[in-house]
Amino acid sequence: MTLTYAFGLDTFGDREGGADGTPLSHAQTIRNVVEEGVFAEQSGVDFFGIGEHHTDYFPMPAGDVALAAIAARTEKIRLGSAVTVLSSDDPVRVFQRYSTLDAISGGRAEVILGRGSSIESFPLFGYDLADYEDLFDEKATLFAELLKGGPVTWEGKTRAALLDQDVVPHLESGPFPAWIGVGGNPQSVIRAARLGFSLALAIIGGPPSRFAAYSELFRRALEKFGQPPRPVLVHSPGHVAPTDEQAKAEFWPRWRQVIALVAEERGFVIPTEASFDAEAGPDGALYVGSPETVANKIAANVRALGATRFDLKYGLPGLTHDQLMTTVELYGREVIPRVRELLG
């Protein structure tokens, strides 16, 4: 059997830096992300994803609007969220926004539902973080119903009930791909299988091989629930430059900076150069280096995890548009063909 692989790029709308180091405006960052999405198609990337964030350093709360702009200027590239914070949103509205994107793009929309590292949307929209699990469970269940198309009847605690409700716009060619993002909780893997979603493994630290058991758990759980086989996606951060040295010189200082920023809110450990080198090495979760280095690592982990899709989360606050365009180009023109070659 020949597996069909797909390779994507994800961004959080990381606020870009100017040549002189001063941050660009939110508006200019968003326009640059649209250019990067269009350029991703021209470079041969299969998917472009935008993660929902609500901060000064990730000013990207309405990624679906940016995706629609990219859709209007592209033909083939698939476009989706990475991730949509479903718990603090209305599943009906999420469905409507992405089915509209599906219409504009001629059937190229996708969603990844989850939380990511994003918690700021909860107070912003009046939700309690302590209710996270219950909100997600109920809303993902409703979203699975909406994806089936046709009138929906649903009742729960988190939004108004629906009685034989026709939700528009109708899907033109069946359900679009929908994934649940999982960061290491095996019960989330079971839930994705039970509700009929595909599995997106967000691996941002430590040896990726530890997630191999999750792919197998997903496969077995799909069988148990009588679901058809569904794909596994791996999402990890990284940066591609002409050489390993240049990639590290551009990425590492920004990585330390953004983790230090998030660490204050989330209690993350601030990385040292040694811990960074370990993460960027063969057994770590960061894909930072030359096209050859990054391609080798992607191929090895895609194989180890039984995945058929890999999404590189590129960009960091402060990196310049030029640096990111280089990453997009090298990833599309050199990394992806090399990974395909390695995977045979």
Partner: protein
């Protein structure tokens, strides 16, 4: 040696399976339970925690010497204290409002003025509560575990009011892969909490002792 201590791990999310795997590797008999039917975690147990036994929480607790709480703290109120009476209870949970939301019961007297394990212990009055295995991230907890005497072995702190329970959990900590550092009573366990000097850190024994010592001095 308390070689025959039987473990019940409550929680099959991020943390529970990691502690269960380490305990199985260390030779402890391990049961794992959630608030629901053990059938619901049978697959998880088979593939992610091989060697553990999925059970109803009540049965797992009844047969255990040590019960590890690895559930989200906001679900703690659903536990029946009566069932845990007479047990050694390892509190591996954290009160971390920035990440998990504000819990009124744990805001008692202001979040910083009381340890979350002291509030847990007040509710579990019939149990010997030991705060342990809470301050190292679950990924690191597994990756950095090393046998006693290994040159790159790290330290993990614990605190509790019952000396026999503290001894049992110190041995558990050691056999799981960390040099146990006994900090004193539960109150002293506040240094292990989010915002404290060792939370999220994986330190050697001297580094750990220095970090805790400096914190104690700055509070004076």
């Amino acid at each position: 040696m308390r070689n025959k201590d039987r473990l019940a791990v409550l929680g099959a999310g991020h943390v529970g399976p990691v502690i269960a795997r380490l305990a199985i590797a260390a030779g402890y008999p391990v049961a794992i339970a959630t608030s629901g039917d053990p059938d619901d975690i049978a697959l998880i147990t088979e593939l992610v925690i091989p060697g553990a036994r999925p059970r109803w929480a009540g049965d797992a607790i009844a047969d255990a010497d040590i019960v590890v709480l690895a559930i989200p703290l906001h679900r703690f109120a659903e536990l029946d204290p009566g069932r845990l009476a007479g047990k050694i209870v390892v509190d591996a949970m954290n009160y971390w409002p920035a990440s998990d939301g504000v819990l009124t019961a744990f805001e008692d007297g202001g979040a910083s003025s009381r340890g979350s394990s002291e509030i847990v212990a007040r509710r579990l009055a019939g149990s010997a509560v030991v705060k342990a295995l809470n301050h190292i991230g679950y990924h690191e907890l597994e990756d950095r575990a090393r046998p006693a005497g290994a040159p790159d072995r790290r330290a993990a702190g614990l605190a509790g009011d019952d000396p026999a329970a503290v001894a049992a959990v110190a041995e558990l900590t050691s056999r799981l892969g960390y040099d146990p550092v006994r900090l004193g009573g539960l109150r002293a366990g506040r240094v292990l909490q989010p915002g404290g000097p060792v939370f999220g850190q994986v330190l050697t024994l001297p580094e750990f002792e220095r970090a805790v010592h400096e914190e104690a001095r700055s509070l004076r």
